[in-house]
Amino acid sequence: MSGAGPARGVSRRLLLGLPLLAAAAAGGGFYALLRRMEAGRYDPHAVDNPLIGHAIPDFAPLPAQAPASTGFGSADLRAALSAGGRPVLVNFFASWCVPCRIEHPELMGLAKTGVPVWGIAYKDQAADAAKLLDEDGNPYLRLARDESGRVAIDWGLYGVPETFLIDRAGIARGHWAGPLSAEIVRDEVSPLLRKYA
C-alpha cells in the first residue's frame, strides 16, 4: 500500500491493542469484583445506611418478645448504653428469615464473649420467634417486637437480618445488612467493638 509508513503501523498496532487492553482491564476488574463478592466483602445490592454517624432514632417502647418479659424503646437503649459503658449490637431478625439462621451462631458467639446484643423481631409472629430462640438458643440480652415494621423504617431497614453497632453515646457506628459471617465478625464487628469500648 502506498500510504503504509511506520506511523501507520504504530496506529494500527494501537488500534488492535487498545480494545485488547480495555478487555483485559475490564476482565481484571470483574475478577476482583467477583472475588470480593465471594469473600462477602462486597455486596452490589448493599445500601449505605445514612444512620451511620448519627444518633439512633427515637422510638416508643416496643412490646416484649418471649422469652423476654419486657420490650424496650430508644430510651431504654440509651440508658443501657450510658450505664453499661460499652457498645451494643442491635440486631433485626425474624424466624421466617433463612439468612437469620445462618448468622445465628455468630450472634451466639458474640453473646458468649459478653457483647450485649439487643434483638428486634421484625414482622414476626411472637410464638414463631419464641420457638426459634428456644430451639437454637437466645443470644439476646433484650428482646422486643416490631410487628408492623414501622420502627425498622426509621432505622433504614430494608430486609432482615440487619445489625447495627451503637456506641456509648447512642451514635450508630456500624451497619451490616445481611447475615454476619465469621469473617465479618472478625474483620469488622470486633475491631469496631474494641474501638468504641
Partner: protein, 155 residues
C-alpha cells in the same frame, strides 16, 4: 417430538410474566387515599422512590412488603398535608439518596448527569477527527507497474 428452541420458551415465559409484573402495581383500593387529588400526589411521590428490596422498581410498582409499608408512610404524610420535598427528604434521611430514582445533582453524580453531553462531545470529536484525516490520493502507477498491468490485461 417437536423440539422448541429454549430461547422461544424463555421469550414466551417472559411474555406471560409481564402482565403479572404490572398486576403487582398498587391496585388495592384499601391502600389508596379517599381524596383522588391527594392519591395522585402520593403516587407521583411514590414513583420517585426506589423500592429498596427490588431496587429497580419504584415503590408504586413493587409488590414487596417494604414497598407497601413505604407507600403507606407516603400516604400518611400526604394526608398530613406535607410538601412533596419534605416527604422525599424524610425518605432520604432513612435510606439515603439511593432511595431517589432521580439522583440529585451533587459532586458524586456530576459525571453521571454530564455523561450524555460528554458522550455527544466525544462523538462530535471523533467525527471531526475522522473527517480531517483525508487519505492522500494514490500515486500514479510507475512505468514498471503500467507494463505489468498491461501484461495482466492482455493475458
Amino acid at each position: 417430538m417437536i423440539r422448541v428452541p429454549m430461547i422461544r420458551v424463555l421469550a414466551l415465559l417472559f411474555g406471560l410474566l409481564l402482565p403479572l409484573a404490572s398486576a403487582f402495581a398498587i391496585s388495592d383500593p384499601a391502600e389508596m387515599l379517599p381524596d383522588p387529588k391527594a392519591e395522585a400526589r402520593a403516587e407521583a411521590i411514590g414513583r420517585q422512590l426506589r423500592c429498596l428490596v427490588c431496587q429497580n422498581e419504584s415503590i408504586e410498582d413493587s409488590g414487596a412488603d417494604l414497598a407497601r409499608d413505604l407507600r403507606r408512610v407516603v400516604r400518611q404524610h400526604v394526608a398530613a398535608g406535607e410538601k412533596d420535598q419534605a416527604i422525599i427528604a424524610w425518605m432520604v434521611a432513612r435510606y439515603g439518596n439511593f432511595v431517589r430514582l432521580r439522583p440529585p445533582f451533587e459532586p458524586l453524580t456530576w459525571f453521571l448527569w454530564a455523561s450524555p453531553a460528554l458522550a455527544l462531545a466525544a462523538g462530535v470529536l471523533i467525527i471531526a477527527f475522522a473527517m480531517r484525516q483525508k487519505r492522500p490520493p494514490p500515486l500514479p502507477l510507475s512505468a514498471a507497474e503500467q507494463r505489468a498491468l498491461k501484461d495482466v490485461l492482455k493475458s
